[in-house]
Symmetry: C2
Subunit: 483 residues, 2 copies
């Protein structure tokens, strides 16, 4: 997936600033308390950065000076920092921001990230004016700003992060998000689902660098193959649309979750990031024009990342549904059908193969294949091969619970055996295979499910948490592919 | 909720048979292997029954005779059983069914349950004929039948069950289900969600006693206040509709999940229980006429049971949404709005109260209240009280994750403190309170979430697993209440 920009060149200074922010040679963190161990404050960024393999030169600031328990000096101001500072992260209160900005200008900082909140998003005119003044001073000095009111950037390769427990393995999925918590959730859960990340940005109020700049950066980023986005408002619709269209043309997938599409959500977005969210109708028109993939939840962003990374060869919607449970199979067929995923009956030939080793009582071999027995012995290879070769079928969905762990003979090493069985047969099949690990009910089921998911991730098999999320993601991906 | 039947009397023999099946004096289980420890076979019923407080007289049958490891005798046929047998559970293969039926008639059994499968649901004419012949012989002898191809009945008070790990605490929720697995899932997960059960039936092919008979039984059952149903086909639409309507008139809630409403699901239902499922259009008309509460998934059946048991006083849809996270709050508002649950801004008075102790940066006090700080100290009581007294609000939804466990100071005893805080304030509020424990991502989050759910259940507080499931259940319940 190579990306060729079509109409105009990107804004040079914005992209230069972002390249610095995502992979700085040196960073200063303002507002590092020697005692803070909780969520907020500059310590969070220090811990996030030190967690990664590549650590830039880091300086910590605190107006009272002193040092951290490990001996790291706390400089009283930017002027005291001995070296150059390319990127500044501000975790000081809004009341102290103007002084810090003036120091940053004097120091020759190239890009500023304001974790600092309490500006326009509060609805107060005075605080909105303060935001404008910050921006005015920075622009006069040719410095670009991320935020305010945001977590900033996370880059495993570039050595910056706000996430202590986040991803440390470099991957190929990028993200831009107006909410830091949503970005943290996508990255944290993404890692458990086998998705690793390239460059991630949380940009909050977006009063300077906005969604179009971040999208432009990720569109051209050679480390990024897939882009996920959580947006509340759009500051620069023209450029956003242009970049999104270019990505669609270049077949570089962009998945967008739009918050604030309802009246209540739009009011909430205005309180959160000061965004004017716009209506669902307008947004749908934007989506059609821009050619990105729409998502309706954080979970769906990840379902789509999994689908694009792991099921790139899925070529049509017709699904073979395989797993134990008659009622589960009926509801699975309903769910697929409602999501425009047909579950056609298998051909006579396939049914004949399945009939050979299927007990006639208490099972169905027509599709869904209601067949818990399938998971015993080498039947799974025979069943999956027959079904994959069926001309009525485009892809296979195997679903399993993890609570009971299947027949008693297999409970002890459920995840290991199930993962081995599926991973051994998947590469031999003529059609792509997805696995649904249904919602666990018990502690042991949750652990077994995570274990199975991890093992399947390692073998490159697409895993989902419900039949619905699997069917929906495949449908959305196909709609985008066939566009 | 007293139930007064309106038009005709229930079929006397069907209801007499069901009273015996749900609370038999004596049971014979045919097809108990001395060595089986797995899922199927008569051992499952024996273990289920012995798990309960009230155990009827139980006899085990095996054509080879002998005894179980604990010394329980295995009778070679019903004729050898020393006492009377009121209820017979058949776990023999279909090939042996006619002999067993003849023995049951000779023994004077009152009701027969066929766990045995492999009849009409296979699509084979020969096997459908066998089912007809079984039924003909039983009816000639005045014996009623449950099944075939089903798990039968579970009654904590009556001392019968197919569930080893199921509920053992008597409760007020009844269920009828055409799928044994769906019934097992509702009961198993229901217990974790604080829902206890009265009488539960899985009735499979329903070739004799059908959904209308089971509904009639539960409608009149003095131990049952709420009825859940999973249906694939309807055998006796006239009587089902009559009983459902009577229940609506008597305000006894009935929640129905219909499988096979799509074309693919309908085909799957015909393979599963031989049901003719009918179209969604017809079903919607039935629902409107009958006045039950529709559900779209097994999860939703339980969400509605929780809502009806725990939030009976909810009187309107306008919701206060409280919890930490700006992006989460925006998406929560979107989800509520899409489910017809308004999230109106709080009154000026409420906002003033909240403003007094809310940091202005990084929070919103308009609704949703984006305020993780709320869970610290006694702020939660002040916040919830102010919000509950707001005239724009009908009910409160508090949402929390369980993975991070909140501010670091509270992580160790997250569930205990959170449950205590909420349980202490809930009874003092002027409006009902629901709690959403968002989907966990980690083992520790799953355990914390289960712990919190259990503690809140014990205090009678309604718990849900997602903002969407909570909003949807409250909306459906209100629609039914305001009908």
């Amino acid at each position: 997936m190579t990306f060729v920009p079509s109409e105009s060149e990107p804004q040079a200074d914005a992209q230069t600033a972002l390249r610095t922010a995502f992979a700085p040679g040196s960073v200063a963190i303002a507002g590092v308390s020697p005692r803070t161990t909780g969520w907020g404050g500059g310590q969070m960024f220090l811990r996030g950065i030190r967690n990664l393999d590549r650590v830039p030169q880091v300086y910590c600031l605190n107006p009272r000076g002193g040092e951290l328990p490990d001996g790291t000096p706390l400089y009283q101001s930017l002027a005291d920092v001995p070296g150059t500072v390319e990127s500044l992260i501000s975790a000081v209160p809004a009341s102290a921001i103007l002084g810090l900005i003036d120091d940053a200008i004097a120091k020759g900082v190239k890009v500023v990230h304001l974790f600092t909140a309490g500006f326009g998003e509060t609805g107060s005119t005075e605080r909105a004016d303060l935001e404008t003044e910050v921006l005015r001073r920075l622009h006069e000095a040719g410095i670009r700003m991320i935020g305010p009111n945001c977590m900033g950037v996370h880059s495993t390769r570039g050595g910056v992060s706000w996430m202590e427990e986040g991803s440390t393995t470099p991957g190929r999925v990028g993200m831009l998000s107006q909410s830091g918590m949503n970005a943290s959730e996508v990255v944290g859960e993404g890692v458990r689902r086998g998705i690793n990340f390239s460059n991630v940005a949380s940009f909050g109020n977006a009063s300077d660098l906005n969604e179009a700049d971040f999208l432009e950066f990720l569109a051209h980023d050679p480390d990024t193959d897939i882009v996920l986005a959580y947006l509340e408002g759009i500051r620069n619709g023209r450029d956003f649309l242009r970049v999104a269209r270019d990505m669609a043309t270049a077949r570089k997938p962009l998945v967008v979750l739009k918050g604030g599409l309802t009246e209540a959500g739009s009011r909430a977005a205005s309180s959160h990031t000061g965004s004017l969210a716009g209506s669902a109708q307008i947004w749908n028109a934007v989506q059609r024009q821009a050619g990105f993939i729409p998502a309706n939840s954080v979970e769906e962003l990840l379902d789509l990342a999994v689908t694009i990374e792991r099921l790139p060869s899925v070529s049509g919607p017709r699904c073979a549904v395989l797993g134990g449970g008659g009622g589960v199979s009926v509801l699975a067929a309903d769910i697929c059908d409602r999501n425009d995923i047909p579950v056609p009956w298998f051909s006579e030939k396939t049914q004949n193969v399945l009939r050979e080793f299927t007990p006639v009582a208490g099972t169905s071999i027509r599709n869904p294949l209601d067949a818990g027995f399938m998971f015993e012995g080498d039947k799974i290879e025979t069943a999956l091969t027959a079904v994959a070769d069926d001309p009525n079928i485009d892809w296979l969905m195997v679903h399993t619970g993890a609570d009971s762990g299947g027949p008693s003979s297999r409970r002890d090493n459920f995840a290991e055996r199930m993962a081995n069985d599926l991973a051994n047969v998947a590469p031999k099949l003529s059609k792509p295979l997805a696995v649904v690990i249904r919602q666990p009910r018990t502690n042991v089921g949750f652990e077994r499910g995570l274990d199975l998911q991890r093992r399947l991730n390692e073998r490159g098999i697409a895993c989902y948490h419900s039949i619905e999320s699997c069917a929906r993601a495949v449908r959305r991906y196909l709609d985008w592919k066939n566009r």
